[in-house]
Amino acid sequence: MPPRILKKATMILNRLPVLVMLSLAGPVAASEHNTAGIDAPVVMTAATPSARTDNNLRMVAKIKVPGNACAGPGYYPFNSAWELARNPSSRQRFDDWIKDNETVTYYGTQITSIMDSMFGALNPFIDLAGMELRFEFADGSHIVMKAPTLASARLRFSYVPGSASDADGNPIADAGTTFKGIYTFSSRARQQQFLEKAAEYHLDFRVKHLDDTAQHLRIEITPIN
């Protein structure tokens, strides 16, 4: 091969990584493509427990919340997903707690999410707009919080409706909804804890024990109309 052509080919190859990097940077597109429906169902069903917990590309971190986590003196502690699912006013205080205790993750996730919603169209390989963080509480329950995108009104994490579930993956009904379906627990203590929490948050429902073997503790919950 003549040296001139060889030199040109080398020059093109040298510039290729720069052009690839530029194309991956991505252009403008405020894409709001999050998963959760805005209108939460009126009745939470247990048919697909923890259906929205394992989208790994979107879910970037799992954060353990200590049992004594609290927004300040006098506030109810964030020791269970029940508190956030059933009490919408706790969600903003929980966002403050994340900011104070997980500052790097908090701002890192927000900046990445906003940047991807601005420049994401040229980067079809990974979708980072509206990234979600999973928070695990002291009792094993968990919720998913979504980072803001360019289309969000505020620079705050928002609770993903229907994402709260207990340690066994049974969904916890959001505020304004009630339970319906078959719930399975790994132990009687977990089952008891679930029912006690439901009573604590004033949910009215009927419980029918379906299977009382040691392996499968199943109950059917029907709302009282």
Partner: protein
């Protein structure tokens, strides 16, 4: 300012567009000044939302393509 963004007193999208425009104006005006292109065009193009990102890519491409080194004299005639 972060608190204003968190409380919703300052809207997120207009704020980000403004920051983006300022950043692109700086980059594009610097390149236009260095390579003797029209600064007025660079300024106006950098202020148009959604388009300014592509314009900046073009200006960066100008820098990359102008960064070619001069070939040694013995290769010039061949």
């Amino acid at each position: 300012m972060l608190d204003m963004l968190r409380n919703g007193e300052l809207s997120l999208a207009p704020f980000m567009f403004a920051v983006q425009a300022i950043l692109f104006v700086i980059v594009n005006l610097t390149i236009a000044h260095k390579y003797h292109y029209s600064k007025k065009v660079a300024l106006i193009a950098s202020l148009i939302p959604f388009v300014n990102f592509y314009v900046t890519l073009v200006y960066i491409a100008i820098v990359i393509l102008n960064s070619r080194k001069e070939l040694p004299k013995e290769h010039k005639g061949s």
